[in-house]
Amino acid sequence: MFKKLIDNAAARSPWLYHINAGSCNGCDIELVAVLTPRYDAERLGFKLAGTPRHADIVVVSGPVTVQSKDRVLRTIEQVPEPRVIVTLGSCPRSCNVFKGSYSVAGPLDKYVPIDVSIAGCAPKPEAIIDGLALATQILKEKREAMK
């Protein structure tokens, strides 16, 4: 019973950690917009965590520049299990307009498996909430898979 309760809790209290991997800041503003009174993601239990150690969901925006690659990977590694990696916007998936630049090491899925990607440049807040809600389900599955 205790385990079941904890498994259920995994989906109901997702804490986000947001990494900007060279984003143009468009997606970042939209992510913050999700927390505003209009969309209020907190009603689903979302909260922005201050450090990766507290996070369940890592949100990465930006095309993963050469400078940021190691930092992003290191930070993702420091998030305790179970964790879900969400890409925000087109950049982390495809490098978008930055593709081919000498300073871009992306896309992100070259380095880590991605659980949810939210498309758009920049994605609408509704889409972000939808993606995050999906991420909570994956989080719960991962938690159940843990021994």
Partner: protein, 638 residues
């Protein structure tokens, strides 16, 4: 055993130490023999005094011993007396405990020093002098012992002669300390001129009746003399230098024991010789000096960058607590002050020994050069935490209990006298206690926690021989915190009773009825009243704590499966550094408490600017303090 046997114990306890001091030099270069002699001497005197607990503390006897059997003739006590009442025994016990622990610690600790030969001679001289002061029943004898103790302490401060700080500290100590000695000698001479006797008991019977300018001057001088020995404000800067520069096992003696003789002297002078504690002017003087010592020294301690200097300032701050509490002249006040005195000896001894261990393991006590030692020296860290919790007054450790009595006592005094000043004293005490906690957080963070400095990777816990004395002191800290009732019943309350009632002390020395014949009133100052005590039962708290801890622990077993036991130094287990590769970045002691330091910058700047480190300035402070105390006494006591 009978009284006839007991009466020889105090003098043997003192003489063993002095004889040991000379024997140590006779055995040549054999360090093991020196250690054996020193160890035997301190153990013998500890055992003898411990055996006196039953007759003196429990049965209320007073041990009287006339050196060479020179008993009083025709009402005049010419011979040198050794008189042990509960108060003397109280101080004797705490002295011998600290001396014994510190001596055993020194065996290992001074191994690398080159001047080992003279160490135990000076050490035992110091111990014997200190013990002589508290057990003696003769004012001039006290002065002699005071000098023996001071010069041994000066020698030990400069023990590491290669260290220029130690030489400087010893010089300052010598100069400023001589102000105190001079005052004490002058005061003694004036008292002798007035009473034609040097016996403490006889003086206490004759002197209080007539408070004339001569005796007031004598009082002021003796008070300053003993105050200087207890390093009260403004004599505190020399203490900081001396404690910081001396070897740690000697700092234990200077801080935990040496200062207590000053406190003992003040009690004897104020409560016995002159019976002046009934005057509110004397009470206010002690309380004000205590509060200033307390607050100024704790703020100075917050500013320090050296572990041992920081501890040194804290000892004066704690002496401030003791003086304040003794100045209240109430049952709770004396009990709190004495309790804090014994606690201070225990926890400050422990802290100095941990500082010594850090020095032994790393070669430095400079806070900025240390960090993360908890991983390398876990046992020392545990001991440090016991000491730090005790001094900061974290329940259920011992410092809390005595501080708590002091708060009760000050506030009770405020309510009794209707003066709001004493309520503010309570506030000062509490704030000082918080600042004490803050400065030990600073030490804990910058020495034991935080990141390990790469160059300290080789540090390790000190050998067993050094740890055992520390564990004894640590264990006593816990014991006196958890069983305050045992302490109160067997140690503190008999001693408090002795402070209030000088009559048995006088009658034992001079014959039955002597006090009644000479003193205007033989009634005690106040009848000690402990009704306010008892609202804090550490054992009940501990039981509850253990029960709840067990419950929480059982619950936490449910989540054990995902505990991470791997502690590999990979990037997952590295400290979060904003994504950067983790690198050495320790928040050192000097950077802590910025908000506090910034807000108080004017005050802190003024205080630390005033501590110039120049001997001339400190002498000026001392002389000024003497003058002010004399003027105060003349203005308000006559």
């Amino acid at each position: 055993m009978t009284y006839d046997v007991y009466m020889h114990f105090p003098v043997i306890a003192i003489m063993t130490l002095f004889v040991g001091a000379f024997l140590v030099t006779l055995v040549g270069k054999r360090q093991a023999a020196r250690n054996a002699i020193a160890g035997a001497a301190v153990l013998v005197s500890l055992t003898l005094l411990a055996l006196l607990i039953k007759p003196v503390m429990v049965d209320g006897e007073i041990i009287m011993y006339w050196m060479g059997n020179w008993e009083p003739v025709e009402g005049y006590a010419i011979g040198i007396a050794i008189e042990v009442d509960a108060l003397s025994l109280f101080f004797g016990l705490l002295i011998t405990i600290a001396v014994a622990c510190s001596a055993f610690y020194s065996f290992q600790y001074i191994k690398q020093d080159d001047a080992r030969g003279s160490f135990f001679t000076l050490y035992l001289m110091l111990s014997g002098g200190v013990l002589g002061i508290v057990l003696s029943g003769d004012l001039f004898n006290i002065y002699v012992m005071l000098e023996v103790m001071t010069f041994a302490a000066v020698g030990l401060t400069a023990f590491r002669t290669w260290n220029p700080n130690a030489r400087e500290a010893a010089f300052k100590y010598l100069v400023v300390g001589s102000i105190g000695s001079t005052c004490a000698l002058l005061g003694t001479a004036l008292v002798y001129a007035q009473c034609h006797t040097l016996n403490l008991a006889q003086i206490s019977a004759i002197l209080p009746g007539e408070l004339n300018p001569t005796t007031v001057l004598a009082f002021a001088l003796l008070f300053t003399g003993f105050g200087c020995k207890s390093f009260m404000f403004p004599f505190h800067p020399i203490a900081a230098d001396a404690h910081g520069a001396a070897p740690s096992s000697v700092s234990v003696l200077i801080s935990g024991v040496f200062t207590k003789t000053g406190v003992y002297g003040i009690i004897r002078v104020c409560y016995f010789l002159f019976r002046s504690m009934g005057l509110s002017s004397v009470q206010i003087m002690l309380v004000v000096i205590g509060c200033i010592s307390m607050f100024v020294c704790v703020t100075m301690a917050l500013n320090q960058h050296d572990f041992k200097r920081l501890l040194a300032f804290h000892s004066i701050s704690q002496i401030g607590y003791i003086l304040t509490s003794l100045g209240l002249c109430t049952g709770l006040g004396i009990a709190g002050g004495l309790y804090h005195a014994i606690n201070h000896t225990l926890f400050k001894g422990l802290l100095f020994l941990t500082a010594g261990s850090v020095l032994y393991a790393t070669g430095t006590t400079y806070l900025e050069n240390l960090g993360g030692l908890a991983k390398k020296m876990p046992k020392t860290t545990a001991l440090f935490l016991i000491g730090a919790f005790s001094i900061s007054g974290i329940p259920p450790f011992n410092g809390f209990y005595s501080k708590w009595i002091i708060y009760q006592a000050t506030f009770e005094k405020a309510a009794e006298t209707g003066s709001i000043g004493y309520a503010l004293v309570t506030v000062v005490c509490v704030v000082t206690s918080v600042l004490t906690l803050a400065s030990f957080i600073k030490v804990g963070h910058s020495v034991f926690f935080g990141q390990l400095r790469p160059e300290l990777a080789e540090a390790k816990d000190p050998p067993l021989g050094m740890r055992i004395p520390m564990w004894i002191l640590g264990g006593l800290c816990v014991f006196t915190g958890l069983f305050p009732n045992v302490m109160l019943d067997y140690i503190i309350i008999p001693a408090t009773g002795a402070v209030f009632n000088a009559v048995p002390y006088i009658d034992t020395a001079m014959g039955e009825g002597y006090a009644a014949a000479h003193l205007a009133s033989t009634s005690p100052f106040v009848t000690p009243n402990y009704t306010l005590l008892g609202g804090w039962d550490p054992l009940a708290w501990l039981v509850l704590f253990v029960v709840v801890l067990a419950a929480v622990f059982l619950c936490s077993l449910a989540g054990r499966s995902n505990r991470d036991v791997n502690c590999a130094p990979d990037s997952k287990h590295a400290v979060f550094f904003g994504g950067e590769e983790a690198q050495y970045s320790h928040i050192s002691g000097g950077d802590l408490f910025w908000g506090f330091k910034h807000t108080m910058r004017r005050y802190l700047g003024f205080v630390s600017g005033a501590h110039t480190g120049v001997t001339n300035d400190y002498v000026l402070w001392g002389v000024t303090a003497t003058a002010v105390i004399i003027a105060y006494c003349f203005a308000f006591m006559l």
